[in-house]
Amino acid sequence: MNIPVILGLLGRLLIVYAGAMSIPLVLALALEEWSRLAFLLSVFLTLLTGLVFARQAKLTEMKIGVREAFGSVVGAWILASLFGALPFQFADVVPTYIDAVFETVSGLTTTGASVIPDVESLPQSILLWRSLTHWLGGMGIIVLFIVLLPKTDLGTVLLFNAEVPGPTHDRVMPRIRDTAITLWKIYLIFTAICTLLLWSAGMTFLDAVNNSFATIATGGFSTKNTSIMFYDSLAIEMILSFFMIVSGANFVIYLTIWRKKSLKPFRNTELITYLLIILGSTLVIAGSLWFNIGESPLLAVRHALFQVSSIITTTGYASADFDLWPSMTKIILFLLMFIGGSAGSTSGGIKVSRIILLAKKTWAELKRGIHPRVISGIKLDGKVIDTETLNRVGIFFFLYIVTFAGASILIAGTGLKPFDAMSAVAATLGNVGPGFGFVGPTTTFAGINLFGKAVLTVCMLVGRLEFFTLLIIFRREFWRRQKTW
């Protein structure tokens, strides 16, 4: 592994990151908030470290191999988390640095679980920084980096694949940088539209910006203690539902539409399945709310749709206290946390396309039970999926469940009740945000002890980088300097 190359890359990334941090700094200066010193110090520290690292390697000499790609992506997320925590720490809005890191990782991984019980007392600049971490992490910090630094052509594919979620990576454009640029363009347009709509629906401009960052990135940090319940506005809930569902779908679809100027790409199996899951869950939950708690049918549908789209896209907004809902609806929401949105979206979880592939493979395997010599290929949207990919998906599922089980035991060890502990882990591993009970929609993660927070922080990162990228650095071969062949 070539460490100077990785440091060079990470240094440049930190410089860009310091640039992002100056946005809340400017806001703090403009509003003359007391948090401006905290931001000034954080920007300075990040920039300084970035400059030191960047000197390790010149852009033109960089060759990025498999190991360097994995190393850089993991390093980028770790550094971005550590440095992004500085403003929270310096502004003293959290009790310990672990809390600050938790908040930042929760932001960058678009989880949206908070350790700050009273967010309404925070300065606007801090609120903006929380939303900004969502927005940067949503499309991926590495993807942003690919856009901003034109000369890193070598190995960008590897970097891209190591960060962007999903079982398969279909590039739409021949050059990865074009893909990355277009993805960010679409991302920007969605954010702009969402902001304008929220603004016109009655939010203040800053709230609209914050909430649209959190929505498009499927994050879930809110500027209010009671999340979207605060506004109690049908218009706002519908706008947010719509954009959450949009963000939970594969951005490659939008990209294809953008390029080909046709609506055909919407006829995508994963997208249709995703919408059907939302529809089915909404109807079942609305039915249960209507029959079991006696909400009026319209209100039941409104609440059910918002919560379902918030949980399946792993946003984590709440428009009602779903912790008080009947048991069955809780279990459905709990399962949606695992399913997650589409591959290539900003959402977390296992992803709908993986579930589709596994279900198809299982069905085909049953056929092989009857006709052992039959050869069955699995197709998705007409494309044959190779065995290697299917294997990876099977293993991914196994890893996801095992990590969930192991982390749940650890979290239960910190004193949470079994189901609360499971929901806390499912919500962080799936980058959702709130869970049930102790970590429910009206409470925060502040009550968990430091060990528990550390475990959940790892869960968020593991979930965002989809296991392989993080786990691979634990292999001994990874650290060998020379190739063995």
Binding site: V66, R67, F70, S288, S327, M328, K330, I331, I332, F334, L335, F338, L358, A359, K361, T362, W363, E365, L366, K367, G369, I370, H371, P372, T387, L390, N391, R392, G394, I395, F397, F398, L399, I401, A405, S408, I409, A412, G413, G415, L416, K417, P418, F419, A421, M422, F436, F468, L471, I472, F474, R475, E477, F478, W485
Partner: protein, 485 residues
Amino acid sequence: MNYSLVRGIVGRLLIGYALTMLIPFILAVFNRESSSSAFLLSLTITAVLGFLMYRLRESTEGKMGIRESFVIVAGAWFFTSLLGALPFWISGSVPTYIDALFEAVSGLTTTGSSVIDDVEILPMSILLWRSITHWLGGMGIIVLFIILLPNTGFGAVQLFNAEVPGPLSKRIMPRIRDTAISLWRIYTFFTLVLIGLLLAAGLDLFDAVNNAFSTVSAGGFSTKNASIMHYNSLAIEGIIIVFIIIAGGNYRLYLEAWTKKSLKPFRNTEFITYLSIICVSTVLIMGGLWLTHDKPPDYALRHGLFQVVSMVTGTGFVSTDYDLWPAITKLILFVLMFIGGCAGSTTGGIKIARIMLLTKHTWSMLTRGLHPQAVSSIKLDGKPINAAAVNMVSLFFFLYVGIFAIATILVAGTGLEPMDAMSAVAASLGNVGPGFGIVGPTTTFASVTIFGKSVLILCMLLGRLELFTLLILLRPEFWKTKNRW
């Protein structure tokens, strides 16, 4: 499909089944219990039905194919469940037939969850019949049938494979019937030894026999309401712990040790992992009990070990009310329900061999992330495992978790709390027995609605036949009469 052949074999099996009902009938007559007429009626119905099916066959000629073997196994379990429920229903021990069916399926699948709140008032014959269903189902009714009817000849291998759990069925002896006979011989031997030991520990003959049947089959029905708590005897718990651990090991190991007269077969990776899991879980639970509940170490060791082995093997005996234990210990027990014992044992669950294969597969997948061209094969005890088997294992895992998720929604819909519903399904699917909360160690499944019971019945059968044997019947190809080639 050769229905004639299927009818002939299932018919003969039912006649054999009617004979086993004679045992509780004789006991009932001997004790002048009111249930004697119930048994007489049940065994007459079973025998007549079996005889009719057997006589209605056109010929016993014809080849047994894969499809016939699946239908025979599914049919055998279906009919033995339906008919095995008759004594409970006719004698009035349970309120509805679904309850009786639940009890019978719970017995045959060695689950051990009961719908009878007060078992101590039941006639002895009914108690014995519950334990007998455990004992028959433990080693497998089809396996028993292979022994009792020598002229089934060909096709026995397929029947064997469709019923005996495990990712890799391997025969030790050239003829399947010899394997089956030896397995039953060891099974009977263990049962007899256990009866002797329990008698020596102070149980009366009736309790010793019933508990031995329940233990060796990893079942869990007890003759007392408070399960093993009732005796509160260290000796009895110790004896049962040893035999539960034995029951959770792979019977092929005992068979090999028996035939080769050496202890070498015990140097088996799965067996060692199994014992390690028991040790680690016990230590963790002891720690949890000691630190958070101030239980003395001897209490923690005794009950921790008992509950761990009871859960991991899917027995479901209870030595103390673990529902009152801290959250972490409950979650460990919950996870153990999924893991289950060794392949080729009488236990339920996913099985340790599968978990090991998946872990190894994951590890080799990470190597391939670094060296995409690497060819890696997975070995277990020095033998390479082919890729198709590993794939089946990861699909099995997916199906297991998927079925668990769907069944949990349904059971939660009947009004159980989320954690209670999850534990009820996990306990049924893993053939464990009691779960937590409303279906906890000191309560029964009586309060679950009829719909919920039906779902759980299905879970027990799916879990016992390891999903594929039953799910394969859902493929449309399965029911086509002619092979297309």
